[in-house]
Symmetry: C2
Subunit: 363 residues, 2 copies
Amino acid sequence: MSFKPKERRAAKARVAMAKAKLDALLVTDIKNIRYLTGFTGSSAYLVLTPSRVYFLTDSRYAAQSGAEVKGADIEVRICAKAVEEIHGILTGPRVGDRIGFEPDNLTYEAYLRFKKGFGNKRFIPSGGIIKTARAVKDAIELTAIKDSVGALDAGFEAARGLIAPGRKESDVAFEIEVGFKKAGADGPAFDTIIASGPRSALPHGKAGQRKMRKGELVVVDMGVLLNGYNSDETRTYCLGRPTRRQRNIYDTVAAAQEAAIKAIRPGATAKDVDAAARAYITDAGYGEYFGHGTGHGVGLDVHERPVLSPHSKDILTQGMVVTVEPGIYIPGWGGVRIEDMVLVTADGFEALTNAAKGLEDLR
Amino acid sequence: MSFKPKERRAAKARVAMAKAKLDALLVTDIKNIRYLTGFTGSSAYLVLTPSRVYFLTDSRYAAQSGAEVKGADIEVRICAKAVEEIHGILTGPRVGDRIGFEPDNLTYEAYLRFKKGFGNKRFIPSGGIIKTARAVKDAIELTAIKDSVGALDAGFEAARGLIAPGRKESDVAFEIEVGFKKAGADGPAFDTIIASGPRSALPHGKAGQRKMRKGELVVVDMGVLLNGYNSDETRTYCLGRPTRRQRNIYDTVAAAQEAAIKAIRPGATAKDVDAAARAYITDAGYGEYFGHGTGHGVGLDVHERPVLSPHSKDILTQGMVVTVEPGIYIPGWGGVRIEDMVLVTADGFEALTNAAKGLEDLR
């Protein structure tokens, strides 16, 4: 039996629904809806049942959903009052009593509005059903992610020519982001981080008014959003000849990243991949300066499942796309982070990002 | 007694809290937090009590919150576990039993996480307390909005030079958006709408791959985000000499807009302002082609209170900033929308947006 991609995605979700003993799932996360239907608009609801997909949007999106949302088991409904329409679908006799919803997406206000129309049926918080399915990418998604990475790698190539003493962080970020748009991207995946000098010690130091100076470290952490899929990559450069300490910290992060990447294969625990990077940095004496997780999934969201951190319970599976991004951040002095995106393959890993790597790599 | 602006904002919110008999309000909407404290970061919580403002964020934002969040009654706490910290603040004996939260912002999942730590205290959905305060702008906000409008008006000036037969909608939008960034804006306030020909009949026709053609209507609906404040304005142009029907529909929308703007003064109901535009369009025979509300508040959000629509219960007050944006959309043929931002003054209104207006106004 051959499935089309969207049908395969719904089928994956239905397996998880069945495990949770749900008769239907109300999907409100717009990226989960895009995943299941291909709809790229910004307002819709979806109801997944064992046999049907009900897609609901309003008249603004009638033409768009007609063009984008297609499938044998998908029923598109254009309606002004989606909540009432959903009550109608789900309170019918053909749908069982256990109705799941996405508790990390539905506001409390919306929860009350839905709940009061379900009569005696149960309205059950059922987190992660679609997001878990999304962690493993199919071929169409991998192509989209690789396109996004291509535009991002080109942005790093541009960055290497733009970063120089005397230039303002935000000016460089602006030029790079214009390049993303010219390459056909929707834009940056998140606020571009260009953090120079002492600001490089801030893991989220988005580009600001600071002028870069000779001898400083510059952390560049960027992403591209292209056709709905994100990419995420970090390089750290030195504006001139690195000091011994800069070199030592950079090499430590690079080796920690390599150790983590080599631990990636189907069946590995996300915790162990994190531990590989963390152990290396800790052994080198910098453990207290690596305060975040080693990585995260990337796809329709910049941050999605799995999570690569000490407390993660995720297990890596073929088709997952994760970042590996250890860092060392010394307050007041500066920091280094190196981040690549990696695909979990049948027998190991494949690096997806390809920007030139090296502390002295500025053109 | 003289208040500083942020303290005056908290005082307004406390009046509403007292009316709702709340002993404390948990504020999770990041724009509401910015409003009360000036914090421009993307992750924080706030607890408002009758005498204190507790501001909580994590170590990433320690430096930024130290610089931005100041005030006699504000206590900044940098903590890794904000939910536990909030439980500690609110379950103490000095805080009463009625704790409000923002049900339109808190997810159901977060609701459960907070609720279970409040013991016997009540956790009460209390929508709109800060958002209602935000509807009336103070002098600092008005200055920020006028700066945003200035950059936006300049964008329309640019648009008039860029829109021409043969040009692609998305290319024009891109050039205008680069101009916004060069003017120091964070970017567009929303996806720029440039909808030409039959696409002008789509109220949300964001710029696409379509090439504009001679004789067509082009709806341009844009906004700027600058220093946290939004602007929002629409013009409709004709690429050449308008037909009689294009002219007639344009003049109808323009007159409807004028009627609505003239109805704006303190004490007027939002419903009546909407009705002024709607009656004009209905009398001209186009009522069925005006499917959205006449306007909305603009500030930290592009769409905020008050709402100008047939079912609105809002009453206009001095200091409110609203859009007035009637439109006529004829499927398959095209549409016209004209939108300006208007300040409610002590005795009437003041137009804030100033882009040249006129169907044949392309340079």
